[in-house]
């Protein structure tokens, strides 16, 4: 684990099911995350993924890479272009800095409209895994 290391990209098909299941699993019943007609009335072409799902996917992306012993310390994200059904989000990441067993990973998720999410994740690895 070194600064500059790149994480392999993760492709997430943004299905209607993922958007709705993610919203409900995160207890978010805002209509724009499950009701296309009400979403349209609010000026968006279709339902879109809620921020909690995006946050969870960013966390998953980092722990998928570093393994089950990795511990998330901080996740900070900013949303841009929405994740609508039928799109694909590709998560990419690179290690920005390391400090002992702690790494700061810069994550970007892009979709067909542009950048859906940018963020940084601080993750700690157990000592024996941090230094190969």
């Amino acid at each position: 684990m070194r600064a500059g290391d790149r994480l392999p990209p993760l492709e997430i098909p943004v299905t209607r099911t993922l958007i709705v299941a993610g919203a409900i699993a995160s207890r978010d019943y805002q209509d724009v995350h499950h009701d296309p007609e009400l979403a349209r009335q609010k000026g968006t072409p279709d339902i879109f993924m809620n921020i909690l799902t995006t946050n969870g996917l960013v966390g998953r992306y980092v722990t998928d890479h570093f393994g089950p012993t990795a511990v998330l310390r901080k996740v900070s994200i900013r949303l841009g272009a929405p994740n609508h059904p039928g799109d694909t989000m590709v998560l990419t990441g690179s290690v920005e800095a390391t400090d002992g067993g702690t790494a700061v990973v810069r994550v970007t998720g892009t979709n067909g409209l542009g950048t859906h999410v940018t963020g940084t994740v601080t993750v700690t690895l157990p000592a024996e895994e941090a230094t190969p």
Binding site: I12, L18, A21, G22, I24, A25, S26, R27, D28, Y29, Q30, V32, Q41, K42, G43, T44, N50, I51, L52, T53, N55, G56, L57, V58, G59, R60, T63, D64, P68, T69, V71, L72, R73, K74, V75, S76, I77, R78, L79, G112
Partner: protein
């Protein structure tokens, strides 16, 4: 402008909410539990073994989920936050979208942990114009505790906005029909794609012209295209967006089976699946009450 004035006054009133509590001693509706963890992991496709088994912890990114009011809301929400949202609703900022989430996890949450939370309104922005509409960014900061001990913090920013009115759909531009190409458009009206043919030398031509490029002959008749073709070349339009069109979309130069080429759209296939050589077939698509155009669909051959 008086509208701006009103917003400025509103902005000043909203600013006064900074530092006031949004939730005092909120209590999570459910203790941290394996069922909600499993539902979360299923939805997100997260197979991390740390979230299952006897020593399971909750995915840290579930932090906010444990504090959500669900369909029935929270009892513990303090008056200030409702008052702030009420002011924004009354000003027309009735819609909300989350823009930022910053979480710090001090220790893992485990099944059985009972979460309490305190939330403060940290910042209310000045009025901002965004793509969705005009509104205000409201930032809150939540401290999450278990048995009085801090377990995490959660800073959250939402845009509370007045949805921009949706412009009436602009119709697609009309074709320019003149003496030289009127026959082509009469054919389209009958769902026939007509190619001009020089009666002197037999050369086919498209688009329609008053004379033959090959021999100069002015006389012509027509051949009806079979409708089979392939993509000879294409571009994908992303920008600038024209009101009548929905980018990204593919504009293609179609080589018809008869050998002439025409510019059209490839429809019914994602723009990024359009390729040179892609076999296509003619369809007539109706865009509005007055406009039907010959476009092309991908076919499997």
């Amino acid at each position: 402008m008086s509208g701006d004035q009103a917003y400025d006054e509103l902005g000043a009133r909203l600013k006064e909410f900074e530092g006031r509590p949004a939730a005092v001693a909120g209590v999570g509706k459910d203790p941290v539990n394996t069922a909600m963890i499993r539902h979360w992991c299923e939805a997100l496709g997260d197979t991390n073994p740390a979230y299952t088994g006897p020593d399971a912890v909750a995915p840290p990114t579930m932090l906010q989920a444990w504090t959500m009011g669900g369909l029935t809301g929270h009892r513990g929400r303090a008056g200030a936050y409702d008052e702030l949202l009420g002011l924004l609703d009354a000003s027309g900022c009735t819609s909300v979208v989350a823009t930022d989430c910053e979480q710090e996890y001090l220790r893992p949450l485990r099944p059985g942990d009972e979460v309490t939370f305190h939330t403060v309104i940290e910042e209310v922005s000045a009025r901002k114009a965004t793509r969705l509409g005009t509104g205000y960014f409201v930032t809150t900061r939540m401290e999450v505790r278990v048995d009085g001990e801090p377990v995490g913090t959660h800073r959250f920013r939402v845009l509370k906005y007045a949805p921009a009115p949706r412009a009436p759909r602009t119709p697609r531009p009309r074709p320019v029909v003149n003496r030289d190409n009127a026959g082509f458009w009469r054919g389209v009206a009958e769902h026939r794609l007509l190619i001009q043919r020089c009666t002197a030398c037999g050369t086919l031509r498209h688009p329609w012209l008053p004379g033959c490029n090959s021999c100069g002959g002015p006389d012509w008749d027509t051949v009806e295209a079979s409708g089979e073709g392939t993509v000879h070349s294409y571009v994908v339009m992303h920008h600038p967006p024209f009101p009548a069109f929905d980018p990204p979309y593919a504009v293609a130069l179609i080589e018809l089976a008869e050998g002439v080429r025409m510019v059209s759209n490839v429809v019914g296939v994602p723009y990024d699946k359009v390729r040179i050589g892609l076999p296509v077939r003619l369809v007539f698509r109706r865009y509005d009450e007055e406009l039907t155009l010959p476009v092309f669909e991908a076919v499997n051959r």
